[in-house]
Every structure is written in structure tokens, then in C-alpha cells.
Amino acid sequence: MNRLLPRALMAPAVATLFLWMIVPLLMTLYFSAVRYNLMQPGDKTFIGLENFHYFVTDPDFGASVVNTLLLLGSVIAITVVLGVALALLVNEPFPGRGIVRVLLISPFFVMPTANALLWKHMMMNPVYGVLAQVALFFGLQPVDWLTEHPLLSIILMVAWQWLPFACLIFITSLQSLDRDQMEAAGMDGANALQKFWYLTLPHLARPIAVVVMIEMIFLMSVFAEIFTTTGGGPGNESTNVAFLIFKQALMNFDVGVASAGALFAVLLANIAAVFLIRLIGKNLD
């Protein structure tokens, strides 16, 4: 019974997840090897690796990989850096801290589509948008965000959404920072900055690993924001792998190529994950 019980408890989760993974994966594998366009189904002829060939030779492919990594890297960097800063800021008491915390985490609860629409139409619109109005107020030329800095705009939107999450986790973690250690460092002659660098930051290593891991999982497949705002453009400047697959699947309706792309994305994600686990893995369990 000692051996069986743990497995029995694990079974539902493992089994369902396995099915959830394996069935689509197998079908995806199959689709990726046949010609399958939703606009003309029926003739699913086997074409070997042609779909993969088409996917990786897509003119947007290189850019999309770069953009994916840029998006991933920048958002993670922004949320971690600002998240730590914010968490430190609100970790000590000040008037209204409770309200500030509540407000601070609000963007996390906004659904991605609403987030994108909000930014696209009400913040970044070059004519009516708040940012344009602010620029005009200061006598500046309004910036056409989505056209001139499409990827940056996407990064801003996504970071805006994920910052609260990172912040929340860091706040949690800071609460368990040992006060004695801080005092000991004080007695050792450390100033505030040194305390942060030598104590707080190492203490945050684990939550940072958690944030990086979770954000990576979610950011790999960001496309709603892109679809709603820039549509991957102009050109391919804000196309990432997920959006490229989306385009193949739901705009070109080429399921074969999209499946090849999805497999590629799985590969990419796993490479990133392996790399990441090497880097921060021991912080994760």
C-alpha cells in the first residue's frame, strides 16, 4: 500500500495531462506531415518534411524567433527589475500601503484582450490616445506607438500586465526575509545598497526563478495582444512565433504548416526550458 497510494493519488493528474498532451501532439505530428489546408481539406497527401521546410523558410520566420526571444527577455527583465523595486518600495509601511498594494496588482486581473484594446485605443492611439494628448500638452510630436515601435508597444502592454504578478510574488518573498540577517549586515558595516545586493537579492533568487519560469511559460504563447493591436506588423516587426503559427492556422488556414510551427515552438520552448532549468532549476522545487 505504501507504494501504491502515492501513485494512485498522482494518477488522475498525470493521466489527464498525458492525454491532454499526447493526443494533440500525435495529431499535430500527423498534420505536420501532410498537406492540410482548411480551405481545401480532403486530400491529405503525405509530404514529409515539406511543411517544416515551408515554416522555417517563411520570410517572417527569423524575425519571429528573434521577436519571441526579445519579447520574452524584455518582459521578464522589466517585470523582474521593476517588480523587485516596487516590492521593496511597498514592503515598508507608509500611509495607504494597503490601498497601494491593492491598486498595484489590479492590472494582473485584466484579461489580455481587454488589456490590448485598452492600450491600443485609449492609450496609444496617435490621435485620441492619452499618450498623444500628453505629448501634445508638452508640445511634442505625438508618437505613433504601434507603427513606430510596434514590438516595444507590445512589450509595454505585456509587461504592464505581468508586473503586478512579479511584484506580488516578490512581496510575498520579502516578508520571509530574516530581519536578523539584515541587522547582522548592518553591524558588518553594510549600507542600504550593499544590504540589497548581498542579502535581499540572493534571498529573492528563488522567487525570481519562479517568476521567470511562469512568465516564460505564458509569454512563449502571447498572441492575443499582438493580434488585437499590431497584427504582427508593420511588416513582421511584431510577429512572434506564436503569432506566426496563429497566422498560418487561422489566417492562412494552413494546418499543416501551422502544425509544423507548433512542433517547432515546442522544441524552442523545451530548449529554453532546459537552458533555464540549468540556470535556475535548483531554485524551483
Binding site: 523558410t57 520570410p59 496617435p126 506588423g233 516587426e237 492562412n252 488556414f253 494552413d254
Partner: protein
């Protein structure tokens, strides 16, 4: 009662139709309507996924002139069999043809459109510009230069948002009038030919000099908002826009608009497009009878009268029936009516390019591969407008992309 699930786009006329649900349900008490209203791109992907996988989630679908013939040929759509009272022959021939395959009607036009030039009479007058019935692009550019006065008003607003139904719809017609075509008779893409280069160069210049900021992200709805705010001096787009910009409830410039036919450069052929949002029944539905009834209702003369009664004649869906244009009340209320009818009548999907082309469609080519090509090219054009790439480079990349797709589609080796 039967529940009909209707997928539709979030355009003004459709939303109006949705609001009239009670009227329909009163007339057909055993049918209940369920609406799925989506943005155009999402609608297209939802509907395509569903019909292609035989998902059967929808009983009535809103589709366009592009999908109708393709899907009908595959047998994915049920033929429409309206009763005599429906008066099929009242449908505008251009529309009926575009939605029929082998003489059988597979989708009923809910509203139809062509494209035309909509300009601000007050501004052109002030600038001393007058347009002939169908102006040339040169004339349009000169006028734009005179009117341009940012940030109060921009010379001209044109579509720039990438998408085969967005910027490419407009740009294709513009290219047609410069003498261009998508494919030659051996299905080779023609994007690096001179007419395309001329057209795109002209387009990009025009928008860069006299367009509003953010043009590369603008499509119909975005520009409509700008236009209604009085930010656009001119606009070449779907005729259906006319009913909105002349509606004082929405538009600040309702009384200052005038219309001309779509501008041309080399030829008038294909200088304005033809499109219809139409209602069709997927083959897999179990509620075909009810769906037939609903479509007959929604695209009937009575429906148009109903909208007229509720919202006034200026707000009725246009571009579908001869009888609408024969109605004096409508002609009086809709200042754009004549121009619109003329535009629709002048469009011919089967002969829209100066050189002979193997495909059907004015602003598209009705082949499955066209979507992917249109999207890829649209993306390049949008990038060119945004100044992210040169026109030559954009066309070169476009040509390569199109070539890739056509090869993949097996049109040639």
C-alpha cells in the same frame, strides 16, 4: 423551438439586424435567434475552422464574396431556395453573380458595396477643387495637398492595416486602375511589374505626405471614426461608409460630404471593388429550414422596409436590391445612393484587370491560396507605409511570398 446560431461581423448593419431579433421572433415564434458577433478577422477564422472541420456550431454564417464560390464548389454550403415572394431577380446582378455558382445561389447578400471617393465638399470648395465624376489619382493627390492641414484635418485617409480584406482590398483596386493584375494567365504572381510599383509608390507617397498618423494600422472602422470626427479630407473606401458618414447622429460632418467614383490612373477597369457580406447555410446544419427562413427574412425587401421604418431610409442596408434604388424615399434620404449604385454596377469581377487574368474577383482572387498571399503582401505594404521598408523591397518580398504560396499550391513547379 428551434435555436438558430448565427455568426456575424460586428458591422453597424449587422448590429442593427441583431437588435431587430424580436421582430423576427414575433414573425416566426418557433425560431429563436442566438447571435455570435465577432470582429471580422476572428469571424473568418471561427467560421472557417468550423465549416472545414464540420464542427456544426453555426446554422447561419456571415461570409463574403471570396468564400462563397470556393466553399460552394466544395459542397460546404446549402443552396438557398427562396420562395417566390423573395424576388431573387430583384437582387443586383453583380451581387447575385458573385454569390452564385453554376447559377445556384449559395449566399444571400445582406449588404453589398463597391468603393468610391468620399470627400469633404466644404474643404474642396475652399481649396477651389472640383472633381469630375471619376477623378484621376493625380487629381486626388493635388486636392489632398491643398486640403492637408494637420492636426486638424489630414488630406486623405486610406486603409493601411495589413490584411487581404483590409489594406489589400483597397490597394488591389488601386493597382487595377494602374493596369496591374495579381496573376498572369499562367498564374505567375505579377507583383514586381511596373503597374504595381507605380501604384504602390503613389499610395505610399500619398499616405506619408497627406495621411493621418498611424495609417499603417487603419482600416475601415478606424478611418470611419476619424472621418466622422472631421479629421479626413478625403477617403476612398467601401460605399457602405456613405450611410454612416452622412448620418448626423454619428458624424460631425454629415452635411459636408460629397461622393465621386473610385479614382483611376491608367484604366477605369477594376477601379472600384465589389463585395457583399452575405448570409449562407453550412451544409452540416440540422436547422436548414429555419435558416432558410431567417435568411429570406434578413435579406428581403421587407427587412429593408423594416429598418427604414425603425431607423430611417438613410440607415438601410444597401447594395443588394434594385428595388431599394428604385425607391424615391431612399434616393432622397441617401445622398450617396446614386453614386453607390453606379459604382456597384460598374464593377465586374470577371473582367477587372487591364491584362487578361485567370481569376475571378476585383480586389481579390477567388482561390484558396489568396488569403495567405493577401496577408503576406498586405503586411509588406503596411510596413512600406510605416516607412519600415522601401516600396521596391516590399514588392520584392511580396513577390517571393506569393510565388512560394503558388508553388505550394501546385499551380506551377
Amino acid at each position: 423551438a428551434t435555436e438558430l446560431v448565427i455568426a456575424t461581423v460586428n458591422n453597424g448593419h449587422m448590429i442593427e439586424m441583431q437588435k431587430l431579433t424580436p421582430q423576427f421572433e414575433k414573425a416566426y415564434p418557433d425560431i429563436k435567434l442566438k447571435w455570435v458577433t465577432l470582429e471580422e478577422g476572428m469571424l473568418r477564422s471561427r467560421v472557417t475552422t468550423d465549416i472545414a472541420t464540420k464542427g456544426g456550431q453555426f446554422d447561419v454564417m456571415t461570409i463574403g464574396m471570396y468564400e462563397t464560390p470556393i466553399w460552394a464548389k466544395k459542397g460546404w454550403l446549402k443552396e438557398l431556395t427562396p420562395t417566390a415572394g423573395y424576388d431573387v431577380d430583384d437582387l443586383l446582378p453583380a451581387m447575385r453573380n458573385g454569390l452564385s455558382v453554376d447559377g445556384k445561389l449559395y449566399a444571400a447578400p445582406f449588404y453589398g458595396e463597391s468603393s468610391m471617393l468620399m470627400y469633404r465638399k466644404d474643404l474642396t470648395d475652399k481649396a477651389g477643387v472640383t472633381f469630375p465624376e471619376r477623378p484621376t489619382w493625380e487629381q486626388v493627390r493635388d486636392a489632398a495637398a491643398k486640403i492637408h492641414n494637420p492636426p486638424n484635418v489630414y488630406g486623405i485617409c486610406l486603409r493601411g492595416k495589413p490584411g487581404w480584406g483590409d489594406n489589400m482590398a483597397f490597394l488591389s483596386t488601386m493597382a487595377n486602375s494602374f493596369g496591374a493584375q495579381w496573376f498572369d494567365m499562367s498564374w505567375k504572381p505579377q507583383l514586381e511589374t511596373k503597374p504595381w510599383k507605380d501604384a504602390v509608390t503613389f499610395y505610399v507617397d500619398l499616405l506619408k505626405k497627406y495621411g493621418p498618423p498611424g495609417s499603417s494600422a487603419n482600416s475601415f472602422n478606424e478611418i470611419l471614426a476619424l472621418y466622422n470626427e472631421g479629421k479626413c479630407g478625403m477617403w476612398v473606401d467601401a460605399t457602405i461608409a456613405a450611410s454612416f458618414i452622412t448620418d448626423p447622429k454619428q458624424s460631425k460632418v454629415a452635411d459636408k460630404v460629397a461622393f465621386a467614383q473610385g479614382p483611376y490612373a491608367v484604366t477605369e477597369k477594376g477601379a472600384n471593388w465589389l463585395w457583399a457580406w452575405a448570409l449562407a447555410i453550412p451544409a452540416g446544419t440540422k436547422n436548414a429550414d429555419a435558416a432558410q427562413k431567417f435568411i429570406a427574412w434578413a435579406t428581403s425587401k421587407d427587412y429593408i422596409n423594416l429598418v427604414a421604418k425603425e431607423k430611417g431610409w438613410a440607415a438601410v442596408p444597401t447594395g443588394t436590391r434594385k428595388s431599394t434604388y428604385a425607391n424615391p424615399e431612399f434616393m432622397k434620404a441617401a445622398v450617396f445612393a446614386a453614386a453607390e449604385k453606379k459604382a456597384i454596377d460598374s464593377a465586374n469581377p470577371n473582367d477587372s484587370t487591364l491584362p487578361k487574368s485567370p481569376y475571378v474577383g476585383v480586389q481579390f482572387a477567388a482561390i484558396p491560396e489568396f488569403q495567405a498571399i493577401g496577408i503576406a503582401v498586405g503586411q509588406q505594404m503596411s510596413a512600406a507605409v510605416a516607412g519600415k521598408t522601401s516600396v521596391d523591397q516590399a514588392l520584392k518580398t511580396s513577390q517571393a511570398a506569393a510565388d512560394r504560396e503558388m508553388r505550394k499550391g501546385g499551380y506551377y513547379k
